[in-house]
Amino acid sequence: MALLQIAEPGMSAEPHKHRLAVGIDLGTTNSLVATVRNGIAVCLADETGRSMLPSVVRYRADGSIDVGHKAVAAQATDAKNTIVSVKRFMGRGLKDVAHVETMPYDFEDSTGMVRLRTVQGVKSPVEISAEILRTLRRRAEASLAGELVGAVITVPAYFDDAQRQATKDAATLAGLPVLRLLNEPTAAAVAYGLDNAAEGVYAVYDLGGGTFDLSILKLSRGVFEVLSTNGDAALGGDDFDHRLFCWILDKADIAPPSMEDARRLQMKAREAKELLSSCEEAPVHVALRSGEEVNLVVTRDEFADMTRHLVQKTLGPVRKALRDAGLAPDEVKGVVMVGGATRMPHIQRAVAEYFGQEPLTNLDPDKVVALGAAMQANVLAGNRKDEDDWLLLDVIPLSLGLETMGGLTEKVIPRNSTLPIARAQEFTTFKDGQTAMAFHVVQGERELVSDCRSLARFELRGIPPMVAGAARIRVSFQVDADGLLSVSAREMSSGVEASVLVKPSYGLTDDEIAGMLKSGVEHAGDDMLARALREQQVEAERVIEATEHAIEQDGALLSADERAAIEKSITNLRALCAGQDHRAIKSGIDALSRATDDFAARRMDSSIRNALAGHKVDEFET
C-alpha cells in the first residue's frame, strides 16, 4: 500500500501518479541514493539502516552477484571477481588507467573501454556500474513503493564526454531513466542551499576515498557556473589509511605480513583513522594469522603529523583552480566540504587556514552530493512550483573545436563555457569545385591537432561545385545540459547537411586532461610559432596552387621568360615551405605574388573582356 508523503501546497499528485525521482551519487568508494520526501531531501537506507553502499561488485561462480557490504568482505579472498572503484574505468581504455599492474583484475585490452574478465565472463565498467545503480534503484523502489520516473546522477565536474556517456549507459542498463547528469560539486552546493544564498564564488573541496576534486563555482542570479576544476585522481582517504598502515608496521615490530594479514591491518588502519575524527586517540589491536599480535594506540596528533604532507598535497590543486579562475583565496564566499575524508579535523583546519574562513561542514559530507542530486531530481520531475524552479549550469572542461588546414585547431567552444551551449562557425572550401569536406572534431587547449584529443570525424558531401572560398559551410556545435556534444555542418546555399553525435572515443585520463591544460599554458609560446609556421605553409600552398591553376588556364598570356620567372619563384617557395621559418615563407609568398602581379592584371583584363563579350555594354549600366 502506498503511504502518503506531504506535498508542496497545491502539488498533490493524482493517485498512482506520484513522480518519484531520486538523486544518485555514484561514487568511486561509496554510492548513495536520496529523494525528497515530505519536502526534505533524505538518503534512503537499506534494510539494516545503512545508507552508504560501498561501490564494490562481486561476480560469484554460482552466477549470483553481490553488491556493497557483502562484496567488500570478499575483497581479500576473491579479488579477481570483486571489483572496487569501477568508476576509475568508466569511459577509459586500458592504457589510460593508472597503476593497472598493481590491480588484481584480469583485464582485457580491447579497443574502446577496458573490460574485465570475471568468473561470469567479460564485464565492461558500464555493466559493473549498472549493478550498483540497479541495487540503488531497487532500494529506492522498495522505500518509495513505486516506480521511479527517473534519476539525477552525479559525475565529477572534469568527467569528459566518454565518461559521461558511459555513466548514462550504465543507468539505462540498470533500468533508470536519467533526468540529468549533474556535476558533483554543483550538487553539493545545491544541498547547502547556496542556490538561494548570496551571489558569489564558492569553492567545493571534495576528498573521497581515492580521489580529490576541487571546483570553483560561481553563483549569479540563482544559476551555478563552474569556473574551474582541479584535483588529484590519486589522492584520497585511502592514502591516509596507507600512511597509518605503514606507521603500524613500523611500530609493531612484526614480520612482513601475508596478503591477508596486510589486508586486515589496512582495514584496522582505516577504522582507527575514522575514529580519530571524533576521538583523541584510537586503539589498534589486531591478532594476526601469523600468530603475532599488534597492540598500539595512535593519537590524533600523531596521525595529523604523519599525514601532514597529504593534507598539504591537496592545497596544490586548490591554488591552481583559483589561479585558473583568476581569484584570490579571500574572494571565495564560502567553502563546501564534500567526501568522507573531510571529516578529519586537520583537513578542516588546513582548509580554514587557506581560505581564511571556516568551511561548511554541518551537512554530512558523505551525503551532500546525493542530497543535492535528489533536490534537483525533485525539480526536474515536476514536484515543485515553477517559481521555485532553478536551472543549473555547468561548464565544459576542455575547449572543443575543429581541425583546419594544416593540422591546426580552430576552437569553436572555449573551455569553461557554460552548458548548455550552441556555437556556430563558418568555414569554406579550399579548392575549386570541391564537393566534399571532412570535419575532425577535437578537444583540447593546444594549437596543433596532433596535441589535442580526437573526438569524431565526419564528412559533408554534395556541396555544389563552386570556386574555392565561395561555399559557406556553417558548422554548429551543441553541448547539451549533460555535457554531451553534437556537431552538424550545413552548406548554406544548397542546404546539404551532415552531423554527428559525438560518440565517446574512450581514453583520456584525468592526468591527461590536467596535462593537456598544463601544456596548453606552458607551450603557448611554442604553439604560437608552430601556428604561425603552419599558417604560412598553408597560405604558400594556396598561392602556389592558384598560380599553377592560372598558368594552366591562361599560360598563353605569358612570355617564356615571365613564365620561367614565376616557376622559379614557385620552386623557391616550395623549398622554403620545407623549412621551419615562417618569416622566410612569408617573404617567399610575397616574392611569388610580386612575380605574378602583371600576369594577374592581364588575366583580369582578359576575363572581363570574355565576360563582356556577347553582352551589350548598357546592360551593365543600371
Partner: protein, 107 residues
C-alpha cells in the same frame, strides 16, 4: 468530530515543517479521481484560506477545506513504516471500500 493526527504523525509533521523552514500546518483534503472515486490530498500549508476549518492536534494545525470535511470527519492521520517504506496513512471511518493502493477510496 474532528480530524486528528496520531502522536507519531504529529511529531513527523512538525519535524518536516521545521526542516522545510516555513509553513503553518498541514492540509488534509479529498478530491475526486482515482480508481475508486476519491483521493486524498496531503500538503504543507503556507497560509490558510478564508473558509478553511482549522483543528489542532498534538500542537500541530490540521487544516481542512469545508468541501472535504464531510468525507474526513473522524479521520486520524497516522505515520507508519512498512519495510523500507514509510509515510502517512489515513484512518478514515467514512470509507466503505478503498483501492488497495490506499490513495483513493469510496464513501
Amino acid at each position: 468530530m474532528s480530524v486528528t493526527l496520531s502522536e507519531s504523525a504529529a511529531k513527523h509533521v512538525s519535524n518536516f515543517i521545521a526542516k522545510r523552514g516555513r509553513g503553518v500546518g498541514i492540509r488534509l483534503g479529498v478530491k475526486t479521481s482515482g480508481c475508486s472515486g476519491m483521493a486524498y490530498k496531503l500538503e504543507f500549508v503556507d497560509e490558510t484560506q478564508g473558509e478553511d476549518v482549522v483543528f489542532e492536534s498534538h500542537g500541530v494545525k490540521v487544516i481542512v477545506d469545508p468541501k472535504s470535511l464531510p468525507y474526513l470527519e473522524g479521520t486520524e492521520l497516522d505515520f507508519v513504516r512498512e519495510g523500507l517504506n514509510e509515510g502517512f496513512k489515513f484512518n478514515n471511518p467514512n470509507v466503505k471500500d478503498q483501492c488497495g493502493c490506499g490513495e483513493s477510496f469510496n464513501v
